[in-house]
Symmetry: C2
């Protein structure tokens, strides 16, 4: 398998982490998204949406969208429950991640780390922090009475939400008010074959 | 089944449409999201994320996130293919819908229809139109050589994308430059048991 990737990306990290848990060897192709490497004609032929990650299977098939890739790879493994309602819950949290969490928490980190903070971005960052904290509060409430997000075990719902939550402080989010999230981050990081986001 | 819903919502419409296709009877509970009906303590007990739609099963289980609900209801029916790669493609398009499409196309429509257009919103609307057209171009390219999004047949990927695409003009998006999308809208609207978004 080949992974079109960008090392600082939490979306890329989700796939790297699951592939490593599963012991599936893969080749990483690093693309500098800030320099426009995902908007070249060559890359748009791989993903018309111009984003990473993309998984290339051994049959040469390209699959985009980090959480769709997680579902594809995890199906039939302990990382995705078999029961229909549990699968729906996994998806519920993964859609929450892409709609409520990533656009606020990941984008804040991306702007602070990689882009110039114009006055306009600074004003929008405030709104993103507010909405990001809303998402963190929803997670905190759930984790206050659950060790993991779904089915009482570590699944791709945890992987999807861990990716940008554990680096939220890099986007200006203080995790001190979220003890259940901090304990869950420790639980995820102590899973067998865990790798850090900085590891390719 | 019971559906917590808001009639103008495309996210609610996705679920109404699939339930109708499947011939599953359901009771609709209308919530005025603009008036804050999804932020009451009673509703937050049903969905801590304070959004519609939520599906309540006959067992009293609550499931949130429109696309997760679609996947749950469609599993084992012709609206969700059985093959692993096809399912991943369905999810790919549904995550694209929630990340690239909905926040731009649906939000533009919501602002124009229901909220006051402040100067700030007017400026952001321009950006949302730009990003929304990016999403429409990705769809147009795919539909230029495909009748439906996945597996050459009508699936929940089409339902998810149809919901806000067919009412995109209400958000200021002219669909004239997208002939493949317009032909696909006709194909979707001519499926058996189709209902319009205005039908509860």
């Amino acid at each position: 398998m080949r992974l079109y990737d960008y090392l600082p990306s939490g979306n890329g990290y989700k796939v790297r982490l699951l592939l490593t848990h599963l012991g599936i060897p893969f080749e990483r192709v690093e693309l500098d998204i800030v320099a426009g490497a995902t908007r070249t004609p060559e890359y748009l032929a791989i993903n018309p949406n111009g984003r990473i990650p993309v998984l290339e299977t051994d049959e040469g098939i390209h699959l985009a969208e980090s959480n769709a890739i997680l579902f594809f790879l995890a199906d039939g493994t302990p990382f995705l429950p078999a029961r229909s309602l549990d699968r729906a819950r996994v998806l519920q949290w993964m859609f929450f991640e892409q709609y409520n969490h990533e656009p606020n928490i990941a984008t804040s980190r991306h702007w602070i780390q990689h882009l110039e903070l114009t006055d306009e971005r600074r004003a929008r960052l405030e709104e993103k922090h507010e909405l990001g904290h809303d998402a963190l509060r929803v997670m905190e409430a759930h984790l206050s009475s659950n060790e993991f997000f779904v089915a009482r075990r570590y699944t791709i719902a945890d992987i999807a939400l861990f990716a940008y939550t554990h680096v939220a402080p890099e986007g200006g989010f203080d995790l001190a008010p979220y003890p259940a999230i901090r304990a869950w981050i420790e639980r995820v990081a102590s899973q067998p074959r865990h790798i850090p986001i900085t590891e390719g």
